[in-house]
């Protein structure tokens, strides 16, 4: 079943014949019935904004990498300080790149799952406008050096109101997507009261329900405290309390980065390697586990003086539990891949790995991202643990860790997914496929080198978020030198990879080569399910309620012990 997308370009007649080189197509076919160009446009622009985030982040990244190699370019660019660039790096990558990709990807997956457009095109458009507006505001604030507060914006450091308003818009953009996904599920329920929610739609909705509950922490932090404080309506805030609200959101924000990627790994990647999704029921349970494991943010605050022992202990145990859904995912995804490798003639215990379609850049990028994630997850076990965290907290070890998780599992997967998604949304054929494959490998090698450097420095006590080559104590710690060299080289290789990525994507967007045939979203069939899995899994409303109650209980305990709030800090602008 297909639908035709018409581009209003009547003065460009399509050339006849099966040739692939022709004037830009006036129309192309997609695999979702009834979907028009107007339905896809907000999704396309949401994805483009995501990639703008990646571009900004990469540009800041190369400045940071070169600084580690003693090459200081900050005087050559329109930035006042390293920390201004670091703020842009964090906001552009951790918030813009990831959020906007999730918005675009989960909207498209929901359309695909139900086989029709989303219920409200206006909401899709509103989401895209809010995201662009929010990013414009925050980017202005950061470029004007009025918000050099890093992406965690801890009080008492105080940014200009535009920065916080931009963040609010960006979060509202995600809520608009949630409403659309909820409306789509209600429409499906009304039309098919006896059917199971399709897995693709279920996982997209579960991601956004989780994120909505998680985002309430930052929403309260910004709307009740930081924004009024920045506007001068209140004089003082409690840095310990606002920071706790930040981390209520700040940990599950990681799930929000990762779950769209899990959707691809569970349901799209198997199809791309010629296999099936392993288990419908377990996939649903994994997404539910992340929904229930929202209240773990205090593991980012193990060394905070104001947080009681009980909260640290409870949230640490829940934190360790996060490994469980991820190890289940490891089995499911690898078993799908093995099916695919064996279907391509792979034999032996590991021989099937070589038979996977490594020549497809969308596949190879995601495979490498998955391998990087194994290192990322293993290193996460060190930061997550109550005691070993003391060795690495706020050191560059953490930076090494999350460049393997969000910086590889998520970022490299988004780039790989873009290799089919940009063609899908434009009707153009992917250009320079071999370069795209090389891009994924280059990122992989770069990030492993980078993280190796950051981790070894961190274990030796090197702080994160620090202009380290200008630190007077650097000479007392000669063991950090190797760490910085590896960081600098790895970071530079990652930047080269990003340059290749943008070359491939821009060539694809502006090419005259139209793709042949109907644009397809690769979605796999399921090996086990869905019928044998429990129907109660589909009642996301009930599970959301359980998640809210659990969060209230666990954070309620913290607040009761912490009370009263201790507003002692006016705003500080120390940059």
């Amino acid at each position: 079943m297909t639908a035709t997308i018409d581009h209003p370009q009547p003065d460009q007649p399509p050339e006849p014949g099966p040739t692939v080189t022709r004037a830009r197509r006036t129309s192309f076919l997609v695999d979702i019935p009834g979907v028009t160009a107007a339905d896809l446009r907000p999704i396309k622009w949401q994805l483009y904004l995501s990639l703008v985030g990646l571009l900004l982040g990469a540009l800041m990244g190369i400045l940071q990498a070169l600084e580690r190699l003693d090459v200081d370019l900050y005087d050559e660019v329109p930035l006042e300080t390293y920390y201004q660039g670091l703020t842009i790096h964090g906001v552009a990558l951790a918030l813009v790149f990831t959020f906007c990709f999730g918005n675009a990807f989960c909207s498209l997956m929901t359309m695909k799952a139900y086989g029709k457009p989303l219920p409200s095109r206006a909401l899709s458009q509103a989401s895209t406008w809010l995201a662009w507006g929010g990013v414009a505001l925050a980017t202005w604030a950061m470029l004007a050096n009025k918000a050099t507060v890093l992406f965690t914006f801890y009080a008492p450091l105080q940014a200009t109101p535009a920065f916080y308003i931009g963040a609010v818009f960006l979060v509202l953009a995600t809520w608009a997507v949630l409403i659309n996904l909820v409306l789509a599920q209600r429409r499906f329920r009304a039309e098919h009261p006896k059917d199971r929610t399709p897995l693709l739609a279920y996982t997209s909705l579960a991601t956004y329900v989780m994120w909505f509950i998680a985002s309430l922490g930052i929403a309260i932090e910004v709307l009740a405290f930081l924004l009024p404080w920045s506007l001068g309506l209140i004089d003082e805030v409690d840095p310990q309390f606002t920071r706790t609200l930040f981390w209520f959101t700040g940990h599950p924000i990681v799930y929000f980065w990762l779950l769209p990627i899990y959707i691809s790994w569970y349901q799209l990647l198997p199809r791309q390697v010629g296999a099936r999704t392993w288990s419908d029921g377990l996939t649903r349970m994994v997404f539910l586990a992340f929904l229930l494991l929202i209240p773990v943010g205090v593991h980012h605050q193990f060394t905070d003086p104001g947080i009681p022992f009980t909260s640290k202990a409870i949230m640490w145990v829940l934190t360790v539990a996060i490994f469980y859904p991820s190890t289940v995912t490891l089995f499911s995804v690898v078993s799908s891949l093995e099916q695919g490798g064996r279907a391509h003639g792979g034999t032996g215990l590991l021989g099937w790995i070589l038979k996977l379609p490594w020549g497809n850049p969308s596949v190879s990028g995601q495979l490498l991202a998955g391998i990087g994630f194994m290192f990322g997850g293993a290193s996460g076990f060190i930061n997550a643990n109550y005691t070993t965290n003391l060795v690495v907290h706020n050191t560059s070890f953490i930076v090494g860790h999350f460049h393997l998780t969000v910086g590889t599992a998520v970022a490299l997967s988004i780039m790989a997914i873009s290799y089919w998604m940009v063609p899908y949304l434009t009707g153009n054929e992917l250009q320079h496929r071999r370069l795209a494959v090389a891009q994924g490998w280059l990122w992989f090698v770069g990030v492993l080198t980078f993280s190796r450097g950051q981790m070894m420095g961190g274990i030796e006590g090197m702080p994160r978020r620090t202009l380290i080559n200008s630190a007077p104590y650097l000479e007392d710690n000669p063991s950090w030198e190797m760490a910085n060299t590896l960081t600098g080289i790895g970071g530079s290789v990652m930047f080269l990879s990003a340059v290749l990525f943008f070359f491939v994507i821009l060539r694809t967007i502006f090419t005259n080569r139209a793709a042949v045939g109907v644009m397809q979203i690769p979605v796999a069939e399921v090996t086990h399910g869905p019928r044998p899995s429990w129907r109660i899994l589909d009642q996301l409303g009930i599970w959301a309620l359980v998640a809210v109650v659990l969060s209230l209980l666990i954070y309620g305990e913290l607040v009761v012990h912490y009370w009263p709030i201790n507003p002692v800090s006016g705003g500080a602008t120390l940059w």
Binding site: T148, P305, A321, T327, L390, P463, T466, S569
Partner: protein, 158 residues
């Protein structure tokens, strides 16, 4: 619900792994007294320098013979910037108390497990024992403004 046999084995193994990790860390807390910072009182950031014990930063031996090391964190320096741990304090437990007078700072002493945040409004307290002579760097590991990277101090153990 249908779960494949191998997957069931894997899931059981994962559960055992996660549970053993919990047991291992709980034991390190119970039997080896590994501990995390706990609330040690509140303090007005503006009054830190006038409030005991922060009115006298540095290393002190209290009447009962125990050792106390007092730090004030501010953008962008530690007070005191240099501390000498005398030979008689080597191998003894020293209680570090620190507080910030302005923004959030972080305290990490290299080659030790001292790692604690300084958050305005709260006293940070952590114990440390220096067993060997040598020098350590006290770094600020939380971004605290444009000169964050110069915020370091030195601890020399005799």
């Amino acid at each position: 619900m249908e779960v494949d046999r191998y997957e069931r084995i894997w899931m059981t193994g994962s559960a055992i792994f996660v549970l053993s990790a919990v047991i291992a860390v709980v034991s390190s807390v119970v039997f080896h007294t590994a501990e995390l910072p706990e609330p040690a009182g509140r303090i007005e950031p503006e009054l830190v320098t006038q409030t005991a014990p922060f009115d006298e930063p540095g290393l002190h031996q209290r009447d009962d013979g125990s050792w106390e090391l007092i730090y004030i964190g501010q953008a962008w320096a530690w007070t005191p910037a240099q501390v000498t741990i005398p030979a008689e304090a080597r191998g003894e437990e020293i209680t570090i108390k620190a507080a910030s007078i302005d923004v959030i700072h972080g305290m990490k002493i290299t080659d030790t497990n001292v790692n604690i945040m300084l958050i305005p409004g709260h006293v940070s307290e952590v114990d440390v024992t220096f067993d060997e002579s040598g020098s350590h760097t006290l770094v600020c590991h939380e971004y605290c403004g444009i000169q964050h990277h110069v915020m370091g101090a030195e601890i020399v153990v005799e």
